[in-house]
């Protein structure tokens, strides 16, 4: 049974919809799968796999399908959505409208009234269709790749049965439903959604869409929770076992420290003891503004809002820092901030156009879901390694893909060993590692475990001996073509002795490998993970480098072991270890330099955490958060019509957080393929170290300062959008509020830098802004929100000159950015913008305080 969340009922109550619980909606919808893949309406063999209900005759979201692990599954392709309901209809002549992407049919009392055609698959040499102006006034524009049919019918009046069927996917297409709905209108009245009184005008329809999709999202969350009950129980059993295993081993002793050494929790005793031994004093505790900005960026990836700062400062309780940490750890944005990290470490590398450069599927959606649900980390690693779910829909099986790679599973073995065991087997992919204890056979044995069959080394993944008469400096002991059986050979690294009753498919080498990695007997796994957390929050690892432990020693071995044990005994809950670190004095001290990352372990003391630059994603997300603006980016696809094959063209949706962007690189140099607003954001991301290609795993990005970084903030398209006071900027609203120059300065500083200005800074701002301040408001009305421009260009028509012309125009519009508001006088506005510009361009903005 699906329960409607309270907020949704409230939301629905404000709308024109009846405030009925979701399962009492009048329109029943069935999902039919197992349909023959033909361009025809033959529903032979169709079976109903899911039922739900909708408030009206609109189908705009498909319920997700989950397996028993809670992973997204593909439905059979094609599948059909069939909506049916008996509703009261007026007597007399009415106009009916049917809109859909793929073929759809409308029946009244069993009689076919309207039908739209099947998607024309493929194409690239077509003409750009005319701008999508609706044939009828008061109708939202027809989305790209959609079609509509209109008819008039005479109705008898009274209750009649309406049936709406929509075909989704098939022919290798992406299973995108688009917007399927039926409108009805009498005489010259505007259309409304059949079964409701919702108007089909653009604003009302947009609201309905958003509401409907968010209702589906919460339904999907619920369904996922229900689907994985058994899986959750399995992991609870494993965690109980892990606790039992660990009780037999002695825990490190927490050292005593002198009275003056600051201690917030046991972490500080391990750190403090070594500082005392070396006679080094720790840095001072940060002030509250600094702490809040740091911890908010570290957990959510975003700076604190003025309201969050205010609430924190008002709380005078002694444990207010601990309370705010708890609030932030429970924040859903926690997941957003982790995705970018694991995209790098696990080399998530989807390509939206004919991917051939070692591309994977878009398993970003699984990553996000895993952190949203706060998966135990052993489960996270296991699910990744089992590689199940939907390839293009976001399941971990997307990790298994490696386009045009001659030995995909060897590449994956490298990623996994590096991510979870801190074992860098990169060299051993093609030859025996010269400086590490890894042989090529080790990598291929592991790869064979993932492949569930013996593997041969391809000649292209070997080093040819004696080529050019020069002797290679590396050894090759495994000859190409020799089969390598599935086996765990790195027993020096991790013992393959597994606890009983843990394997669910004991003969499956892939699961065996997952358990070898994640078993509580493998303490290396737990230590590698907590060290990754430590590095992320403190800026230098207890072990460096965090992804290559071969020659490495821990700076604080007992602390590392203690944190590892904490992870295991607390059900592999990352948030538990994060909470320990964030609550430590060590984390909350004033930052400086590299935190000792470059020092030998015995000299790495953590007197002060490292001065960390914001990640590329944090910079982009912070910029837009400060201005209260949306990216305004295009849908991340070159096929918005949904007509190209899924294996060749993906649609990664419209990004709302920076991690959702993806490379637009397509090596074609065709303006018609550009997504200009998206590109302007990607320019910033790339300059600051985000990778537009993640062909290989990476933990520490290259964040060397380059001149292009500050330049993109100073002059770039994104930088200009952020500092320009346009009507869609929250900063414009701040400037329009009734307050003094001093208060305005304070709120701008809080918003942009998370702190109050110094006396000198306040004076500079007052000097700059005072002139004309009282008359800054022109009294011009706020303009209506402008609708986003939809382009009609897609892969099917991108070779036409018109497509190039349209895109070049959009590029110019993107460069021009958002026009300035007329609600502020020009002269004052420009001075305020210049102040904002200086704040955003201050080095302070791009560093974690």
């Amino acid at each position: 049974m699906i329960r409607t969340p309270a907020w949704l009922v409230l939301f629905a109550g404000l709308s024109l919809l009846p405030a009925a619980p979701a399962d009492e909606n009048p329109v029943k919808v069935e999902v039919l799968e197992g349909i023959p893949d033909k361009r025809a309406w033959s529903l032979d063999g169709a079976r109903t796999t899911e039922s739900y209900s909708e408030p009206g005759f609109a189908l705009v979201a498909v319920p997700r399908k989950f397996n028993t692990r809670g992973l997204i599954l593909d439905r059979s392709s094609p599948f059909v959505l069939r909506a049916e309901g008996k509703i009261e209809l007026p007597a007399g002549e009415v106009r009916l409208l049917l809109r859909s992407r793929n073929s759809a049919r409308l029946f009244i009392d069993g009689r076919l009234v309207l039908e739209t055609g099947f998607i024309k698959v493929g194409g690239s040499h077509e003409a750009v269709p005319n701008a999508s102006i609706a044939k009828e006034k008061d109708l939202a524009p027809l989305p790209m790749g959609h079609q509509e049919k209109l008819t008039k019918v005479r109705l008898p009046g009274g209750a009649q049965t309406i049936r709406l069927e929509a075909m989704v996917g098939g022919q290798g297409l992406r299973p995108e439903l688009g917007e399927v709905y039926v409108g009805m209108a009498r005489d010259n009245e505007p259309f409304h959604l059949l079964g409701t009184s919702v108007s089909l005008g653009v604003e009302s329809w947009d609201k309905y869409l958003a509401r409907s999709r968010s209702r589906h999202q919460s339904r999907d969350r619920q369904a996922r929770t229900e689907a994985q009950t058994e899986e959750v129980a399995y992991w609870q059993r494993r965690h109980a076992l892990a606790r039992r295993e660990l009780t037999d081993t002695p825990a490190p002793v927490v050292p005593a420290v002198a009275a003056g050494t600051p201690v917030f929790n046991p972490i500080d005793r391990f750190i403090g003891r070594k500082l005392e031994d070396k006679g080094v004093a720790s840095a001072a505790l940060t002030d509250d503004h600094t702490f809040l900005r740091r911890v908010t960026l570290d957990t959510t990836g975003l700076p604190p809002t003025p309201a969050e700062i205010d609430a924190f400062l008002r709380d005078r309780s002694a444990d207010r820092r601990a309370k705010v940490i708890d609030r932030l750890l429970a924040d859903a944005r926690w997941a957003d901030h982790w995705v970018g990290y694991w995209q790098d470490v696990l080399a998530e590398n989807p390509g939206i156009l004919k991917p051939t450069l070692n591309n994977t599927g878009p398993f970003r959606w699984w990553l996000h879901q895993a952190f949203l649900d706060n998966y135990p980390f052993d489960r996270f690693a296991t699910e990744l390694m089992l590689m199940e779910g939907s390839v293009y829909g976001g399941g971990p099986v997307g990790f298994a893909v490696a386009t045009q790679n001659d030995a995909p599973m060897a590449a994956k073995a490298h990623v996994l060993a590096r991510a979870f065991l801190g074992a860098d087997v990169q060299c051993a992919r093609c030859h025996d590692a010269p400086h590490q204890p890894f042989k090529q056979k080790d990598v291929f044995s592991m790869a064979a475990m993932l492949a569930r069959e013996p593997l041969k080394v391809p000649a292209t993944s070997s080093v040819k001996m004696n080529e050019g008469g020069r002797k290679p400096r590396v050894a090759v002991t495994l000859q190409p073509g020799v089969p390598v059986s599935p086996a765990w050979t790195l027993t020096d690294l991790v013992n393959a002795d597994l606890p009983a009753d843990v394997l669910r498919a004991p003969r499956d080498s892939r699961e065996q490998l997952a358990v070898i990695f994640t078993s509580p007997r493998n303490d290396r796994f737990a230590r590698v993970i907590v060290n990754r957390l430590w590095k992320r929050y403190v800026g230098a690892g207890l072990v460096e480098p965090v992804d290559d432990w071969n020659d490495a020693r821990a700076s604080h071995p007992d602390l590392l072991n203690t944190l590892g044990r904490e992870l295991v005994t607390h059900g592999y809950d990352l948030k538990h270890v994060a909470r320990l670190i964030l609550n430590s004095h060590c984390y909350q001290r004033e930052a400086k330099g590299d935190g000792g990352a470059s020092l030998a372990p015995e000299n790495r003391l953590f007197a002060a955490p490292a001065r960390r630059r914001l990640s590329a994603e944090q910079i982009v997300d912070s910029l837009f958060a400060v201005a209260g603006k949306e990216f305004g980016a295009e849908e991340l696809t070159l096929d918005p019509e949904g007509r190209q094959r899924m294996s060749e063209m993906l649609n990664l949706g419209t990004p709302r957080r920076a991690w959702e962007f993806t490379s637009l690189s397509n090596d074609r140099d065709r303006p018609a393929l550009s997504l200009p607003v998206t590109q302007s954001v990607i320019d910033v991301l790339t300059a600051f170290g985000w990778r537009d290609a993640r062909q290989n795993p990476l933990t520490v990005r290259d964040e060397t300062p380059t001149a292009l970084q500050p330049l993109l903030l100073a002059n770039g398209t994104v930088g200009s959008r952020i500092t320009r006071l346009s009507d869609d900027s929250a900063l414009t609203d701040v400037c329009l509020e009734d307050k003094s120059v001093g208060d305005l300065t304070d709120s701008v500083y809080l918003r942009v830098l998370g702190r109050l200005p110094t006396a000198a800074e306040r004076e500079t701002c007052t000097e700059l802004l005072e002139d004309g301040f009282t008359k800054r408001r022109t009294g011009a009305p706020a303009p209506p929100r402008t609708l986003r421009k939809r382009s009609s260009v897609s892969w099917a028509n991108h070779l036409s000159p018109e497509a190039t012309r349209i895109k070049l125009e959009l590029e110019r519009a993107a460069r021009a950015g958002d026009p300035p508001t007329e609600r502020l006088t020009r002269d004052w506005r420009e001075r305020m913008e210049d102040m904002l510009w200086a704040l955003v361009n201050s080095p302070e903005f791009v560093f974690i305080p």
Binding site: A591, N696, P843
Partner: protein, 430 residues
Amino acid sequence: MLTRREFLARSGLTAAAILHPTAWRLDAAEEKGEDVRGKADSCIFLWLGGGACHLDTWDPKRKGDGRKVAGSAYDAIPTAVSGVSVCQHLSRTAKRLDRCALLRTLHHDVIDEHAAATNRLHTGFATTGTLVYPSVGSVVAHQKGARQEGVPAYVVMGYPNVTRGPGFLGAKHGYIYLTETDVGPNGLVRPPDISDARQARREALLEKVRAGCLEKHRGDEPVADYSAVGVAGLKLAGPQFMSAFDLKNEPATLREVYGGEFGQRCLLARRLVQSGVRFVEVSFNLNFVNGTGWDTHNEGQQKQHVLIDQLDQALAALIQDLEGKKLLDRTLIVVATEFGRPAEFDSGGGRGHQSQAFSAVLVGGGLRTGRAVGETDELGKRIVSRPISVPDFHATIYAALGINPARRLYDGDRPVPITDAGKPVSELFV
């Protein structure tokens, strides 16, 4: 522990080093071998994306009929080099072919997707999943830096692509790019609504804010380093370098000689090279002329001659202009594409892809030009003599620019050869 690369990056971190990176210290004993005699100090890399047909440009064969009979689409004409002919639509370049070396036997094994082949031609390696290889432009930028301080080493005119990127060499060896010559690169061009007076006010405000920030973070290296590149950046975006982008400073007659937007890109490339940029990649951007650009499937073939003509006009103008300014001997022009096309025509009168034999051109750069290297069979399908691998092609470019093609680059501590066992085309060196 820092990796070797990180250590070097940190130890060499000054504003100047960021814009003018020095080459890695190299283990000379490991890298002896190639005798590097190249004299060129800059490179203009003209990219014909889509796969330009060698039979219809640099390696003409007997004529086909555009349908059943396979062969070149156009007549062949003689050139300034006796015994070497090119297609009739390259008449201006033909007169200057003594300045060119035609490489007619390039080959590789990637045909099914443009991105993979483009990656091969730019990096010289197949993707492996263990590291991302740098493009030829980034390698040159990394090895030689910019020719002038305060100038970027590597500029792309075209859309940003992974294959043009710095790979494991890191972002500071990446490119700045622009997509329209009259607009300039994102980030370097000041927004039009920011007057000089406003910019001055902005910089004065920033100076105060920055000083406060540095005072607060005294001795904090990462902050100081970022602040330093901020100062360097504003200089880079200043009038001295940015005036290079203003084509209006060129005589109108010269602009006309260069021709359309592709020609203007070539002219801008010359200006950038003059201002100290080391490597400029210019993508051919006239795809709208025939819809498909050089990827002449089906009807794309019909107006291919217009593309060739535009290439010819721009290339000939560039050669003549560089020569007139005494820059040709020290500027290497490369004309490259991801693969060629077969002699047969498809059902729409166009052509498919062919990677087992195709052509590239090297111009000037102090090379022994005026020759065609390598020979293909009667329909340009197979190599008859002197195959040139993609690594050989890159080794030739590096050698021409005075970079030892046997050198090793480093991804962290891991040595990576600069080319995959490439050997320079020795015929082109004195």
